[in-house]
Amino acid sequence: MYVLPYVVLQWLRQAAINARRRDRTARYLLWSVLAGIAGGVMLVLVAAFVALLWSVSLWWLGLAMIAVLVVPVIGSALVRWVLVPAGAHRLAYRVAMFSRPGPDPAAFALCAAAWASRSGTAVAWVEARRDARRPLGDAEIAATALLAAGRGDAQTARELLRSLAMIVEDHAAVRELAGEWLACDAAERGAWPELAEHAAAARWPATPLTFLLEGIAARHTGDPAAPSSRELWARWLVAPRRRATRPLVVEAAAVTGAPAGHAPADPAAPAAADPTPLPCAVAAHLAFDAEPVTAASLASAVTAWDTALGDDATRAWLARRANELDAPPGAAARAIQDVAGAVTDDLARIAEAARLGAPPGARGPVGGNLARRLRHGRLDALEAAFSRWADRRHDRTPHPSIDEWREFVALWTAYGAAVAAGGLELRRLAFPNAFTKGSHMAAWLWNKREEYALSHAISKWLLDEALAVGDTEAIELGHRNCALAVPTRLGHVSP
């Protein structure tokens, strides 16, 4: 009388949660409500069953039934609302194990324990559990990220959680936690475009809180597919932490139309001819001290300087003043060179600090030198870092697998930043060295360390880069490597 409805409801609830993980439309709310109703009815059934057992003096069996039948329904909520705030990492691990999060419950349990870890003992306990699980997969990386977040190291947590997108082993419950942390992190930083981009790519299965924050991000970025105010409030009702999210929803609901802020100027657009180019260049240069540096403002300053230093009127004025001041022969040309050098030094420092590349197509005395300087500096740094990474294969003491991954993630982040700043030209120059070193490391991780998911992630990244730069030999090798089935705890994954 009780078992069959319970099993059916359990199936229905899990089906609704699975459907919700694949959906980011208004149906998401329906699936959430359905899962909630199914869970509520299951609890009523269990209560009736336990009352029946109690009435026939089988209270001990009633208690056992509560443990067996209630924990799977309320396990996730218990972890989130009670065990994590209390710092009960061991209990969080056990409860998460019994919450039926999927075919590999220890993965979610490890993350729950990492989330609840407060003390050094708890961290050591989680790390020991993590290191015992080999090969490394998404849960071990997410748990390491949550431990870093617990230490206050948000940057490491952010990079590690973002890197999960490269790992083929996919525990939905783990990905949900990762996606929620990243969404909350982006909301705290006000990085709405970043969060909207994650949502558009459906990079992570969304929890109700993630879904709400993604809706808020869509409103802030002026996405045409952004939810209406009514739908936003509906998401708010379904999501937890309503008191904390209410101001965000009020703010987002008030946003209408295009996002606030100035539309960035097109850096490639030619600057209008100015009758007084040198004062414009000096003013553009000094503006960096008063306003945030953007790619557009850097491009504008570079164009202004190249125009000013190549301007006939500037050269004529310099020649005349040099003559009047009785300066040595060639002083005017030397002054142009010196000013160009000083300006390039200053702009290179500014671009490095803001992680910007040289404006595309800049060829003047300032633009050309700036492009060369930034490209060479970044290439040298990348090559040295990749060489250090590849040398790890020859270390006598093997590093833990998570450290190998962290080293790669640091390189991947640096490479991404350099390529974003330097454009396709720098990407083409940086790729051959990255490919050589990365291929060796991927083969070593697969053959010697049996870290299949990590090796595949590196090979897949190299293949994507090879496709971007059009390296046919690397594309061929990348396709061969990436076609290998990857052994994971969830079975062999055939990419």
Binding site: C184, R321, A335, D338
Partner: protein, 108 residues
Amino acid sequence: MKILDNPFFVLGLPAEASRIEIEREAQKLLGMLELGFAEAASYATPLGPKLRTAEMVRAAVAALRDPYQRLVAELWARHAPPPRPEPPQRPAPLPSRDGLRRALGWRP
């Protein structure tokens, strides 16, 4: 050459100043600095006031004695925006959401 340390700004003179005016102004500023006059302790630049020292005054006047260095200094000073009495206003920072991650149940 950093525009903030431009010799003409340090001496508080226009770029058209003659050699004699430069020498006279440098002597005057050195005397005022030695006596601790408050008005000599800073100078105006396009990015707001900056602290002035006797070493800076001596370096500025020495730079302007050299025709080539004066040419470069003039190139900057003649084309710079006018000096400001106050530093430029920086744009207001975005509203802070510090602690939101924690309020949503996550650390740090």
